[in-house]
Amino acid sequence: MRRRELLLGAAGGWFAGRALGALAAAGEGQDVLGTLAGKRPLIQRALRPPNFETPLRDLAAAFTANEVFFVRYHLAVIPRIDPASWRLTVGGSSVGAALTLSLRELQHDFERVELAAVNQCSGNRRGLFTPRVPGVQWGNGAMGNALWSGVRLRDVLRRARIAPDALEVVFNGADTPVLPGTPDFVKSLPAERALDENTLIALAMNGRPLPHWNGAPARLVVPGWTGTYWVKHLTDIRVEPQAFEGFWMKAAYRLPTGAFPGYRFASQETKETTPITEILVNSLITSHVSGERLRRGAAAALAGKAWDNGAGIEGVEVSTDGRVSWRDAALGKDLGRYAWREFRMPLDTSSVGAVNVAVRARSRNGTRQPDTLTVNPAGYHDNIVQTVMLEVV
């Protein structure tokens, strides 16, 4: 709600009278829902290319259902792929044996693995930024947790005889731009991350084939790293001994160098900027939103999720007195270190009045959610401590 107040304060009656609806904000319950084929209603940030986020209530489950998993595209030409004719090519200067694989070969010629992981858009919560920054104005729902299954990227790269001089592995998907002058969405990973045993070519999500809008028939899964690397509708992998120069690596998805913790993508880093890589420790309250009232004496519990880069959540602290004192919440079942972890804390409803709830997670990687935002031009990495204002009545 902070955004709305800010906006109304800043824009005054002009927007309120004429085009209030024109100003998308990230407040829950005030958003326009839209549906894509095969999906349940999602918060529509844009129709074409489709950008839809998951409503808060659908983030309360341990695994985010395929029908409500968020959808994020940069480019508007998104072909529906026939799985029987789909092929994945693996080539580039740093492979000894280029490959072309059918879906059937991918399914049967490689060990099948599965892993639970959070997929979070780099720009998740951009719409909550102060000051506002341009870009899709995501709220909290450009993320979800799913059980991904497929094959290890490493096994495929080894089949192609990846060479010791490999520096980056470059991924392209079947989605393409409308105009010839628009850069195709192509991403690269450091070779060492591509060879990590947890980097997958996923074919299924939560036990079913990938939904079209989430990358069918195959997508990259890079657990612990933000969604920009999780290339959908994967068609082409190239292994190269030099840094990939494409727009979506060199100009987009970048942070001020040194501003945030996390893996440093050295071959893509400059003195000024560096690619976003790992997810920062974060949490989300899913049980309540600001403004909710609790009945005095009635049982109530705060619940939500905490996640990080895969180091694993060490603890989640809850404050109900405006961040003065903190207590450890109970943690739910460990679904795997790349998944989110549920937390739960009973709320004291014995006396009436305002309850100022704040939650902060800490990771086994030694970091904890900060109180203040590190402003950056693209609006990434909003992992500040979240507050909800409740009232016992």
Partner: protein, 101 residues
């Protein structure tokens, strides 16, 4: 805020309920504010993306922000927009969708 999908109804007045409206995607018309440059703006922008991006970004935009955005669309993404058209589009966007001081 009602979100990014704008309808004529929303533009007219919207003290309406906070309950989310559910629409089949593409079912409702997207309407941008009336004014000089509106049709040109829509015509150029929708080559690549729906116009929701415009009001969606308004809170983060001012004249300088829109200028950078138009430049980016032309230079980085290859949008076919002449210099004269750029100026008309900028004037339109700034007049109606600059929400940041």
């Amino acid at each position: 805020m009602k979100g990014a999908l704008i309808t004529a109804a929303l533009l007219v007045g919207l003290s309406a309920a906070a309950a989310p409206r559910i629409a089949a995607a593409a079912e409702e018309p997207l309407v941008l504010a009336d004014g000089p440059g509106r049709d040109l703006t829509i015509g150029r922008c929708i080559i690549c993306h729906s116009v929701e991006y415009i009001p969606g970004n308004a809170p983060a935009m001012n004249r300088s922000g829109w200028q950078k955005s138009i430049q980016k669309m032309k230079e980085r993404f290859g949008a076919p927009i002449t210099d004269e058209e750029s100026k008309q589009i900028l004037d339109y966007l700034d007049a109606h969708y600059s929400g940041k001081s």
